[in-house]
Symmetry: C2
Subunit: 341 residues, 2 copies
Amino acid sequence: MKRRSASTLRDVARVAGVSIPTASQALNGRSGVSSETRTRVHDAAHKLRYTPHAAARRLITGRTDSIAVVPGSNMTGIFSDRFYRPILTGVGGVFESAGYRMLIAPAPRVTSAAPQFVRMVRAREVDGILAVGIVGSRWIVEVTESDIPVVLIDNQFPELAVPAVVNDDAWGAVLATLHLAGLGHRRIGFVGAINDELWARETRTGYAQALAQAGLLYDPAIEILVANDVESARQGGHTLLSLAERPSAIFAASGKMAIGIMKAARDRGLAVPQELSVVGTGDSEFALMTDPPLTAVNIHTEELGQRAAQLLLGLIHGNPAPASIVVRPDLIVRGTSGSSR
Amino acid sequence: MKRRSASTLRDVARVAGVSIPTASQALNGRSGVSSETRTRVHDAAHKLRYTPHAAARRLITGRTDSIAVVPGSNMTGIFSDRFYRPILTGVGGVFESAGYRMLIAPAPRVTSAAPQFVRMVRAREVDGILAVGIVGSRWIVEVTESDIPVVLIDNQFPELAVPAVVNDDAWGAVLATLHLAGLGHRRIGFVGAINDELWARETRTGYAQALAQAGLLYDPAIEILVANDVESARQGGHTLLSLAERPSAIFAASGKMAIGIMKAARDRGLAVPQELSVVGTGDSEFALMTDPPLTAVNIHTEELGQRAAQLLLGLIHGNPAPASIVVRPDLIVRGTSGSSR
DNA sequence: TTTTCTTTCCAAAACGTTTTTGAGAAAGCC
DNA sequence: GGCTTTCTCAAAAACGTTTTGGAAAGAAAA
């Protein structure tokens, strides 16, 4: 009596005293069935706790109501990445209200998950794909061959015409740099990431551009590239702060690097923001942990995710693919940036 | 020529010049097919880029090779929760090597996702369920009715006999408190979470127990319960540190609360660890951001996830359900705890 | 009364696999 | 050459649903 095998549409039809197709019609709300039998079928279904077998339904309808989320190779993990996490929250919210499920390959990186994902796509397990971060173009080609809609987040393949949603990293750097310039700083240092990912390059570009815009000289001596972690940035900070003409403000391209800079300042007994202004990039959880709280470029990560999800839903429903979407960050001024002198 | 509809087993059979069942047998490596036809079938399948239709296969085999991950109501979000994130990383690793996929309802909390999940389970979309954090017992009952294996993480229902994997929160508190006692501290304060979740209660229990074990007096005046965030803990810290007989050490039940305490100490000009020792709880990403790095109870989150995943895989393959698994944390001594005086 | 139109339902086919059963052919044995 | 045995393959059934093409029954129109 424990193991009551799951009830099927046939059972419902039998209990309601109708044929299988009639039961199906009734439950799916299609016309051509009297309201009396309709309620009888619904009652039977409810009594038997009937739920349609997903695989059977998929087989005939061709829809899966699921989308696959693919972690790019630059994610530290689909669950552990600080930057991409809130993006996925945004994605999830949109798909939830649309009644979709997210299928997540447990593989930490797309490089290892690639064959698995291609198989998933070919097996028609999903209606669409959301690739988050860096994925190889070879992989994209293989996937798009299957006529399944794909949307990229924080990545672009202009030559392949794959729709994408990206953050305007250069704009963020411009905001940060102009903010510091507006406070009267003339020597604004930059600590960037030494990798060659898009955001690292773009951030650097924005910094240089903003300097020009503010009429400040670009000085390679106060620009330094380090690995994207606290300790490397701390060392980089010491390099910058030990200069004869040390910068009065530093813009760090990530939250971790900003924290490293603040540690370096504290090591040297420099008060923030009185003797050194620091601007970072990142979420508020990070920013509020420092003392004082970090002035930072705020990337609308959740919005990135939402926009991408909406775009993908549109493609699934047959809408034409729009051009890429660019989302601009803004700057949240907290306690680490102050006027020069 | 762009829209080449996906090839099916029938196509493979036709190209190879055999019947459909023979093609199936050959591809699935079953005996009773000559090696010559077998290679012919494989060649055809490869040429046509054949991949079995997942839904069709599921319909007949009954297996889905997927498991559902259910976010508990105390998660801040399946992607955004600091504590549960690494657990899911552990889970993912195990399922990846076992060839399983993870289905994640995008809903942020199980309370909102409950009906959706029950439907998923009833629709036989998954072979097993992993519930992470707090889920309602009513929900569990509803799900277990479907004869689908369920494993809980960081949660327990002794009366329902649902297998679970939990962290030994009390033990962590004992380690932290005894560490401080071992450094010579006689007045060890406690900042706990005011919610009534299991970990909050257990941590408090462990603290009290360790005091007794160390021969120290339990003083309600230096125990305080606050909301689990930085700012609340900061205020709580001020309360504790303004006492006439202020504690020389404080154990905080979470990383956020530990940071709040450190901010309070800095507000009052108290040097850590010279004038106040602080021990927290949490991952190293958090702990390394403070200055000096935080001495903290280290919960083996990833191991929790791995053990739970392995347990669930066992249940799916018919193993008997073992008793609950308890994983003990350890203490990582960093820079915020020093000897008394 | 006969014809035409609705309404309500059901039989059958389809989706793409896997599994079971059985038939034909080649080979071994007397 | 007749008999069994082994090997290879194909025909048919099954999984649980949705969709299509009518059929039966009753009501409206002639």
